[in-house]
Structure formats: structure tokens, C-alpha cells
């Protein structure tokens, strides 16, 4: 579909000229095709790259000399993850906890509030950061574990570890109906 020259031939000009062909090509179809392909590539490209959360576990080699730090139990908070998206936390030893054990939920009014309050309290009374030990029970989901680690990231806790749950702590969860 070459474009027609409709702008009139003008007057005069008696000489018969060979009609000049327009060099313009209709690009509509080409543009259509190009946009179709663009749409295809936009849709197939992964727009949002997956994000990652780094997780560092304590070294677990048996043959190495165990480095055990004595930490004050008053600044150690243990978070037990039970079923139905619930957690239970305590500070100190499970048998004679200094604070808790308290059942808590996720979210900004649940675990995050507790973490912020308690870490501020520990910082104030002892001048050191709070240590958090996360113990997921076998009834917890992967999402719960990631959520707890995420809350710890949000509140800026630096010292934390994931550990295996003990029988006493399972008992604690059972008592509160979280296992």
C-alpha cells in the first residue's frame, strides 16, 4: 500500500513527466508485529527477581574443640514455634523462666512488639544485646521459621541461632496446646 500523492498536480507544467513513485512504505504491519513481540517478551521475563535471606548456622563439626560461651541466661530469649502459626517465648531456663513462657502470635503487635520491648529491656539493664534462640518444633511450617527470622531481621537482632527443640520444651508447647 504505497501512499498516494493527493496534494494536487499544480497548474502549468506542460511537460509530461514520468510520475515519481513514492518511496514510503507502510510500516503499520511491522509496528504491529514489533509490539506483539515486545508484549510476549515482557510477559515471559521474570519481572520480580526472587529475593534471598541469608541464614548462617553455627558450625557443627564434632571433631573441633567446642567453643562454648557462657551467656547470662537473663539475656537469652528462646522462641518455640508451635502449630497454628503460634509461638511461645521465655527468657532464661525452661524450668524456671525469668519472663514468660508466653504464647504469642506473629505480626507487628505480636512477636515484633515483644522482641522490641524485651531487647530494649535487656539492653537497658545489662548493657548488652539480647540473644535469641529459635527452636522450631516438628509441627511448625517453614513459613513460620522464615517469619521469625524475618522479625529478628526487622528488629535488628544480630545474635541468634536455630536449634533443635528439647523434650522439656515440647512439653511446654503441649501444655499450652501448641503441639
Amino acid at each position: 500500500m504505497a501512499e498516494l500523492d493527493t496534494s494536487g498536480g499544480g497548474k502549468g507544467g506542460k511537460k509530461v513527466r514520468s510520475k515519481k513513485q513514492s518511496t514510503r512504505v507502510d510500516l503499520t504491519a511491522m509496528v504491529d508485529l514489533a509490539f506483539l513481540l515486545i508484549t510476549f517478551f515482557i510477559l515471559t521475563t521474570t519481572l520480580q527477581k526472587p529475593k534471598a535471606m541469608d541464614l548462617t548456622m553455627p558450625d557443627k563439626q564434632e571433631d573441633q574443640k567446642k567453643v562454648e560461651l557462657d551467656v547470662a541466661e537473663s539475656r537469652t530469649m528462646t522462641i518455640l514455634i508451635g502449630k497454628d502459626n503460634k509461638v511461645e517465648w521465655y527468657i532464661g531456663q525452661p524450668a524456671k523462666p525469668i519472663a514468660g513462657p508466653t504464647v504469642d502470635s506473629f505480626g507487628k503487635n505480636g512477636l515484633r512488639k515483644t522482641l522490641l520491648e524485651k531487647s530494649a529491656e535487656v539492653k537497658r539493664t545489662q548493657g548488652k544485646d539480647m540473644i535469641v534462640i529459635v527452636k522450631p518444633s516438628s509441627k511448625s511450617t517453614y513459613e513460620n521459621v522464615v517469619s521469625v527470622m524475618d522479625e529478628l531481621n526487622i528488629v535488628g537482632n544480630q545474635i541468634r541461632a536455630i536449634q533443635d527443640i528439647t523434650q522439656d520444651e515440647i512439653g511446654l508447647l503441649q501444655r499450652d496446646g501448641l503441639y
Binding site: 501512499e3 498516494l4 493527493t6 496534494s7 494536487g8 514510503r24 507502510d26 510500516l27 503499520t28 511491522m30 509496528v31 514489533a34 509490539f35 513481540l37 515486545i38 517478551f41 515482557i42 515471559t44 521475563t45 521474570t46 520480580q48 527477581k49 526472587p50 529475593k51 534471598a52 535471606m53 541469608d54 541464614l55 548462617t56 548456622m57 553455627p58 558450625d59 557443627k60 563439626q61 514455634i81 505480626g107 507487628k108 522450631p136 518444633s137 516438628s138 509441627k139 511448625s140 511450617t141 517453614y142 513459613e143 513460620n144 521459621v145 522464615v146 517469619s147 527470622m149 524475618d150 531481621n153 526487622i154 536455630i162 533443635d164
Partner: protein
């Protein structure tokens, strides 16, 4: 009376500039495109506020969902090298076709003994195959342990880089399965790894 004829304007618009832009964008998208990877299982990753992006190279992902474990190595050369090493370890000889096929396989979840069979199936038909997952248990000698180990070795040999191991777990997966994988990684002193998450805004 002669009627005054209004010269008719052409309705055609100059498409050249539009065409230029369209093709420029097209080129950009083609070059930056990395097709969506289709995992054999759908793992809905949990959301977290972490904004660390995953590395593009020297990276392997362990995909966990419905109690099954799948493995994905990034990069074709790394895949081929790992497969050869695994073949030696388990006494399986892979044909060149199978190795090429493996280099183009995104993620897989079959025991290594069934791998040659699996690789003989054309890629298009693999969706119908039920994959049983890579065997993982608490012993020292499970297959996932060796896959990760051989990938790490191959990465050092090929790129002189440290492999990043990532776990892509389904949010509803029970924790013991993840714990099993973490233990497997810790046995080979991989104490730092990434958990793949989707981005969530922090609720204020």
C-alpha cells in the same frame, strides 16, 4: 459552477519513528529476557522483608515442596561438570546426548539411578512424568549431599568461585524436612546459605 475541491490529506501517519522505538524496546527485552523457569512442583515461597537479590551465577537451588526435594544448578557448564562427577561416583555412564540434555534441564528430582532414563525423555514430555524427588535422609551418604558436594567442587574447578546454595521451600512445608536439608548442608560445612523469599513490605 465549479465546486472548490478541498485537497484531501492522506490519513497515513509516518510510522518510522514508532517503528524505531518498537524495535529498540524489542531488542532490549530480547537481550534482557531470561525465560521463566518452570519448576516441577509449585513452591510458594514465604514472604520476608529481606531485599538481598539472588546471585545470577555460581548458584544452586534446592527446591522443597510436598515432601519432595528437587535440585537446580545454574549454568550449563556447571551442570555438565556436576553430572560427570556424579556419574563417576555412582558408576553410571551418561551418553553425550544425555549430558547435553542435562545441561538444558532446569530442575530435576529423580534418584541418580533413574537419571539416564529421565534424560532420555524429551524435555516437552517431562511435565507428565512423576518425579519422586532426590533421596534425602539423615545419613552421611544421601544423594543430595553428593549433588551439592560435586557442584561445589565443579564450581571451584570451573570458575574458582564459591557456590551459593539456596533453599526454595514451600511455605506450608513442615519444618523437619527443611531441617533435614539444613543438616545435610551442614555436614559438608556449608553453614551459610540463602533462603529464597518473596518481597513483603514491613508493616509499620
Amino acid at each position: 459552477m465549479p465546486r472548490v475541491k478541498v485537497p484531501r490529506k492522506s490519513t497515513a501517519i509516518d510510522m518510522t519513528a514508532m517503528c524505531d522505538v518498537a524495535f529498540l524496546l524489542l531488542t532490549f527485552f530480547i537481550l534482557s529476557a531470561k525465560p521463566k523457569t518452570q519448576d516441577p512442583i509449585t513452591a510458594i515461597v514465604p514472604a520476608a522483608a529481606s531485599e538481598v537479590a539472588l546471585p545470577e551465577n555460581d548458584f544452586a537451588a534446592i527446591i522443597v515442596g510436598q515432601g519432595k526435594v528437587f535440585y537446580n544448578i545454574e549454568g550449563q557448564d556447571l551442570r555438565m561438570e556436576t553430572l560427570k562427577a556424579m556419574g563417576e561416583k555412582y558408576g553410571i555412564t551418561f551418553t553425550p546426548e544425555q549430558i547435553t540434555s542435562f545441561a538444558n534441564t532446569e530442575s530435576f528430582g529423580v534418584p541418580v539411578k533413574q537419571l539416564p532414563q529421565f534424560l532420555n525423555i524429551p524435555v516437552a514430555e517431562r511435565g507428565d512424568v512423576r518425579q519422586t524427588g532426590i533421596p534425602v535422609d539423615t545419613t552421611d551418604n544421601n544423594e543430595l549431599f553428593h549433588w551439592v558436594r560435586e557442584t561445589r567442587k565443579a564450581d571451584i574447578a570451573l570458575h574458582n568461585a564459591v557456590l551459593t546454595v539456596a533453599i526454595k521451600g514451600d511455605s506450608k512445608e513442615e519444618y523437619p524436612k527443611i531441617a533435614e536439608i539444613i543438616k545435610t548442608l551442614q555436614k559438608q560445612e556449608v553453614n551459610k546459605f540463602s533462603l529464597i523469599t518473596s518481597l513483603r513490605k514491613v508493616q509499620k
